[in-house]
């Protein structure tokens, strides 16, 4: 039996559910408390407000409301992006970095689980080199070098060694 969340005594017979920003909230009340809050089955009460009242007392969840962020360059808000699905300017990627990173990573992980690098394609001229890719490349070359030494392929090993030291300078 569910107990009324407001008086915490009587049986809850009225159950409200509100889904906002993918966060589901539920309130269970007895008839007495419901009518005291101005809710009856006929009158359409403001359910979120009612839930707001209840959440102050008990349901408060840590992830209930995501804080909004504004891009200092173009003025676009994270909430604008959420409703329109489009960003305002290139700087949004910096302003909303952790959230966009999570979003893009989730697209990627459904495709290639375990993929580390978000970008591993073409780079425009003059752009800073992608360090994470550079490190992965060095790591792979070092493994090849160990194998070459084990197999006594010394010419190959010498080539790999100079390639690694060239990359490390960059």
């Amino acid at each position: 039996m569910l107990i009324c969340q407001i008086c915490k005594k009587k049986q809850a017979t009225i159950h409200l559910t509100d889904i906002h920003n993918n966060v589901k909230k539920e309130v269970h009340m007895c008839e007495g408390c419901a009518s005291e809050k101005g809710f009856s089955l006929q009158s359409a009460a403001d359910i979120p407000q009612l839930l707001g009242l209840a959440s102050k007392k008990k349901v408060a969840s840590p992830q209930a409301v995501e804080e909004d962020i504004v891009c200092p360059v173009c003025g676009q808000r994270w909430s604008d992006f959420n409703s329109r699905g489009r960003l305002g300017c290139p700087n949004d990627y910096q302003a909303f970095e952790p959230r966009l990173r999570k979003l893009v990573e989730s697209q990627l992980s459904s495709w290639h689980p375990g993929e580390v690098s978000l970008h591993s394609g073409k780079v425009p001229p003059g752009a800073p080199p992608d360090l994470s890719r550079q490190l992965t490349r060095i790591h792979n070359l070092e493994r090849e070098l160990r194998q070459a030494v084990e197999m006594e392929h010394f010419e190959e090993a010498a080539r790999l060694k100079s390639e690694i030291s060239r990359l490390k300078v960059v």
Partner: protein, 351 residues
Amino acid sequence: MDISLPFDPAAAWLAGGGPDAAIAVTSRVRLARNLANHNFPTHPDQSDRSSVLSDVRNAFQSLPDGDGYTWCEIDRQSNLERHLLLESHLISRELADGTGPRALAFNPAKSISVMVNEEDHLRMQALCSGLRLKDAFASVDQLDNAIASRLAFAYSPLFGYLTSCPTNVGTGLRASVMLHLPALVMTSHIEKVFRAIYEMHMAVRGFYGEGTEAMGDFYQISNQITCGRSENDILADMEASIKAIISYENRAREELLERERPRLEDVIWRSWGILEYARQITSEEAMRHLSNLRLGVVTKILDSLTLESIQRLLLLCQPAHLQQIEGHNLESDERDIARATFLRGSLSLTR
């Protein structure tokens, strides 16, 4: 450099040909790029659009003369002209029906086209016939390099090329292949193929790209994910999956020819009959029957037509092209009559 439309619709890809041309009508690769330090075209404040447009225009004007790009300001074109460009696959519906300063640049063969101020500042695409994703990428990649040496693109080492919608971020590369799959439809295997396509993280789009409908058993298949892998890896994956779909369609065609030849011939010749005798026909019905004629040509049931002529008829019987042929605007029911007359005339010529 500016054009005054109407222009000749002849584009290199219309000639057909290329690997697997019996099934793969066209291959297209597009790159999404944005200029650094400018709002995306989708920002509510539209004041950056004009300066982006003139920067891009200057970059195109400074390309070597031999490239011969034509520059066309879309907001100065009539509704009919914009739809001619849309039907020729040079621009998207979004650019055709959008608002504000926006433009198109295309090369003489109409194999490369660049939309300016669509969802991103630049959408550069290369289009060719047959299954030739790598060739398409090579030509658009070359243009990308030329423009990148003249304009600074928005890029971050973490995310790659920055785009207005994060679903394009990374390489900004969308590869699409237009496949003609009538035998998979006739043998009721198409749903199975669609499911496999989604599982391979590809999407099925309509005849004029995202948000448009499929017509006449033509389906546009494209990659969904643009980041995390290099351009060449994305294209190699796509090509392998597309080849698998092509082999299913080929198998279905062989099966129909072996076991149900009378049914196949009946479908094709009935379509011929309708196109040769109808007095009014909608664009959708015409495409359905032309699609059957295309199947007739590649299965050698019809020998008086070529793939190129079918491709041309498919383009010319679209509403805007039809009105251009007639020389004036036509209402929908007038178009249906004009389309039937045009198709009747074209088919009787081939007899």
